[in-house]
């Protein structure tokens, strides 16, 4: 179908103005969310970590996870970098220290319990909840197994039980939410011999981290990872070397994940709900206008045609009458003329008796 340029621009303006005048979606992040007040977190100090894997052992025990392939006191598994998987909520990786090649550095990986989690934002069945205690918990009963959370997580933490045929779950650290609700420590924190893991209120942990950096500036990189990354996480990290060297992403920025998609997602109701109605309405009105205009113009045409015909007939009859009249007059005139001629001829005849006497009688035809 061909629409005029004007119409197209008109539709565009209608759709566009509805987009502009509507309010931006408040996806929980048009203010800066600094966590529920009093929410807990964990500070992981990689300088104090000795890579003993006690945290992995304890996590496995506390969460009733299946036994690993290699026992937890086998430290050679750290020669390869691992990631969290369906059987391990947390793993410890070993990295080489560029300054002291003989003393490796360690890093514990687990869910960072972001203040504004990407997994919770991506999940359309609300399987993830950011609890006021700080933990991001997972509800397996509503999960549909789409694994959008695994795609959304910038730290690539959630793992999936691919081997489970009928009830696979997304597996990730829970910050031992049941335990901390009872006032206990998370399993990993309790097991750590050097207190490389510290548990407490997130703002207190930030103070602790800053104090450590202040006291020992040569030991620590002056940055607390997780303070603002991805909008802030409940799991904070301290390191002796740039965080890149211990396998952590430094390119994430400080925007929370939900805020990245808030704009687009906020537009969905408008695009899906408002625009069809609005644009269909405009279309319908236009179409109706067109129809009415068409019928009106048809009527006008017919009317004009009738008018014209009437006029023509009138003119014709007038012209005909006129013509008749003229004809009659002309005939009359001729007759008159002929009569006059005849009378004249007769007169001449009478006077012409004495002459030739060849008087021509002019007939009508000759006149």
């Amino acid at each position: 179908m061909s629409i005029s340029r004007r119409k197209f621009l008109g539709w565009l303006a209608a759709a566009g103005s509805s987009a502009v005048i509507s309010k931006r979606a408040d996806a929980a992040s048009n203010k800066h969310f600094t966590g529920y007040p009093g929410s807990k977190g964990v500070l992981y100090d990689s300088v104090m970590c000795i890579g003993c894997r006690n945290c992995e052992t304890s996590c496995n025990k506390v969460n009733d996870l299946p036994a690993p392939d290699k026992p937890f006191d086998d430290l050679t598994v750290m020669d390869a970098h691992r990631r969290t998987d369906a059987k391990a909520y947390t793993v410890v990786n070993k990295y080489q220290n560029p300054n002291y090649p003989k003393s490796p550095l360690y890093r514990k990986i687990q869910c960072n319990h972001c203040l504004e989690p990407a997994c919770a934002s991506a999940c359309f069945v609300r399987a993830f909840t950011k609890t006021p205690s700080g933990a991001v918990t997972y509800n397996a009963s509503v999960c549909v197994g789409c694994r959008y959370c695994m795609i959304a997580c910038p730290f690539e933490i959630p793992a999936y039980e691919y081997d489970s045929a009928f009830s696979p779950r997304v597996m990730k650290c829970t910050m031992c939410h049941p335990r901390i609700s009872k006032g206990q420590l998370p399993g990993c924190v309790e097991a750590c011999p050097t207190e490389a893991l510290s548990f407490g209120k997130r703002d207190k942990l930030l103070k602790l981290a800053r104090e450590r950096i202040r006291k020992y500036p040569d030991r620590y990189v002056d940055h607390i990872y997780g303070e603002r990354e991805m909008g802030g996480t409940s799991w904070l990290y301290l390191s002796a070397v740039p965080f890149k060297e211990i396998g952590m992403r430094e390119d994430l920025g400080v925007t929370p994940a939900p805020e990245l998609t808030a704009g687009v997602l906020g537009a969905v109701p408008m695009v899906v709900g408002l625009w069809p109605v609005l644009l269909t309405g405009i279309y319908a009105i236009n179409k109706r206008n067109q129809k009415v205009a068409a019928s009106e113009s048809e009527a006008a045409v017919a009317d004009a045609l009738g008018q014209a015909t009437l006029e023509a007939e009138t003119k014709l009859s007038e012209a005909l009458a006129k013509a008749e009249k003229e004809k009659a007059e002309a005939v009359e005139q001729e007759v008159k003329k002929a009569l006059e001629e005849a009378a004249k001829a007769q007169e001449e005849d009478e006077s012409d008796e004495g002459e030739d006497g060849t008087g021509e009688i002019k007939t009508e035809e000759d006149a």
Partner: protein, 526 residues
């Protein structure tokens, strides 16, 4: 003729394809490794004289000096082949005394270098480049292993002896009025006091000065068939050759009329008012400290006078506004007393305890008296009754330089740590052995000995945050549950035990027991 539409299509395809190709080729280009395949050289000179005339049109030339000096030597010539001499002093520049116009300098280089190269090539020897791009190279494959060299006590002693203690052979000063160099007896200092890294108005750079002075003298001495120092680049600047330089050990003390003991007073040239001086003067063992550094410059960074001559109490323009207090106490500064002492704490024998002690000298103000000693004779603060050196000497002698220890019977041999024994058995800590090791480490060090002179100071390495005592508190007296809201900075007992031991072992480089070997310290409970 190709149809217009076909032509356009092909152009489009080629543009897109080339975009992809050019972008992906960059990913495959491997930048040349900076390390270089050839072994490093110590004689690399970058000829960028033309920089003084403006931006360089071509890359600076990389020149291997030793290659040329050996080649020139082989031909029976000497330094004069390239270096003009004037008044028996060599010009460090190539074939010229001064840099005149840019065109002239460029021509000097081009004409002379290329001519010599061509000559050498013509006579059949291996020669250097003659084409533009072969000298003006963008990428240099050979890395530089040039190492700086300076005088330490041993080298200076050897030179002084060779000159038969005639210091004026090297040391000079400059008279601004007569505009002449002269020998200022008694005021000899390092060349670096005047000759800085960059050349200044009427003063050559340190690099030029050292090359002119050192190489010239060596060359002349060698010409007299005597033993002398190196005249090649690598002889001084190649790390391997530096190892071959003979050292005298022990070095006899340099004779520069320096004091044995000094009483550091704040009153001096800058600070004339003795009333403003509130702290006791500090007796300083100058003779002992001479041995702790390779050069005098470690402390005498600007001249060989007393610190107080520039650093007044409130700072002066001469001292760059660095106050006396900073000059003496600034941590992290190499020339300050405390800075150097803090550096000494990073020795492997000391660092086990000292790495975890936060550097906060304001913590214990009673310790100021360790240096700012009260003079028992009552004439401290430079009242002038007795000579400063005499007072200082007396104060220094009154010091105990040995670490204080308790009687062996008072130091428990083994300490059983069983408070948290749960999965593991109690720890049998070899307490006395550890203390003896620490005391052994302190034994030969006067600095350590003095600061640990009081009994119980050594104990405070582990029994910290409490007064020194014969029976210091146990860890569990202060450390309990972790993560207390009020005590967020204090580790819990388990971490206190583990961190205290592990941090010390880690800092001191003790390999056994490994931190991750739990049973190495406490056996597992059955």
């Amino acid at each position: 003729m190709i149809h217009k539409r076909t032509l356009r299509r092909w152009l489009g395809i080629i543009t897109l394809a080339s975009l992809f190709l050019f972008n992906s080729v960059a990913a495959y280009v491997v930048t040349a490794s900076k390390g270089g395949k050839a072994a490093g050289r110590s004689d690399i000179i970058t000829i960028d004289t033309m920089k003084s005339f403006g931006d360089l049109e071509r890359p600076a030339v990389v020149f291997y000096h030793e290659k040329h000096s050996t080649a020139v030597e082989k031909k029976g010539k000497d330094c004069t082949a390239c270096h003009l001499s004037e008044n028996d002093r060599f010009s460090l520049k190539y074939m010229r005394q001064e840099d005149e116009a840019s065109e002239a300098v460029m021509n000097i280089y081009h004409n002379n270098c290329i001519a010599c190269h061509q000559e050498t090539a013509a006579s059949g020897d291996q020669s250097g480049p003659v084409e533009c791009g072969e000298c003006h190279k963008e990428k240099i494959e050979i890395s530089s292993i040039w190492a700086p060299i300076g005088f330490d006590h041993s080298l200076h002693y050897r030179h002084a002896k060779a000159q038969e203690e005639k210091c004026g052979a090297c040391h000079h000063a400059y008279n601004k009025t007569t505009k002449k160099l002269f020998y200022d007896k008694g005021k000899e200092g390092t060349c670096r006091y005047c000759h800085k890294a960059e050349a200044e108005e009427n003063r050559i750079s340190n690099k030029a000065a050292s090359h002119m002075a050192c190489i010239d003298c060596h060359r002349k001495t060698l010409a007299q068939k005597k033993t002398a120092g190196p005249i090649t680049c690598s002889g001084c600047h190649n790390p391997a050759d530096q190892e071959l330089i003979a050292t005298v050990d022990p070095v006899p003390r340099m004779k520069r009329n320096q004091p044995d003991a000094v009483l550091l007073k704040a009153v001096g040239k800058e600070q004339k008012n003795p009333d403003l001086v509130r702290m006791n003067s500090v007796p300083f063992d100058h003779m002992a400290h001479e041995k702790y550094n390779n050069t005098c410059r470690a402390c005498h960074h600007a001249d060989l006078n007393a610190c107080g001559s520039c650093h007044s109490l409130a700072g002066s323009k001469e001292s760059d506004n660095v106050k006396l207090e900073q000059a003496m106490h600034q941590l992290g500064a190499e020339s300050s007393c405390m800075g150097c002492h803090a550096e000494a704490q990073t020795d492997t024998r000391c660092v086990g305890c000292h790495s975890s002690i936060p550097k906060n000298r304001m913590k214990n103000l009673n310790e100021c008296g360790a240096c700012h000693m009260t003079d028992p004779t009552g004439s401290a603060a430079g009242s002038g009754k007795l000579d400063g050196a005499v007072i200082a000497d007396a104060l220094l002698k009154s010091r105990t330089l040995l670490a204080g220890t308790y009687a062996e019977a008072d130091i428990p041999e083994k300490v059983i740590i069983k408070r948290l024994a749960d999965e593991y058995k109690p720890v049998e800590l070899p307490h006395r052995k550890i203390i003896n090791t620490l005391l052994n480490n302190i034994k030969d060090n006067r600095l350590a000995g003095y600061f640990h002179r009081e009994n119980g100071t050594v104990c405070q390495g582990c029994h910290h945050n409490s007064p020194a005592a014969k029976k210091p508190p146990e860890c569990a007296s202060c450390h309990g549950l972790p993560f207390g809201e009020e005590n967020i900075h204090k580790p819990g007992l388990k971490a206190a035990y583990h961190r205290q031991c592990m941090d010390c072992h880690d800092a001191m480089g003790i390999e056994k027991p490994v931190a991750t070997n739990c049973t190495g310290c406490h056996g597992k409970k059955a």
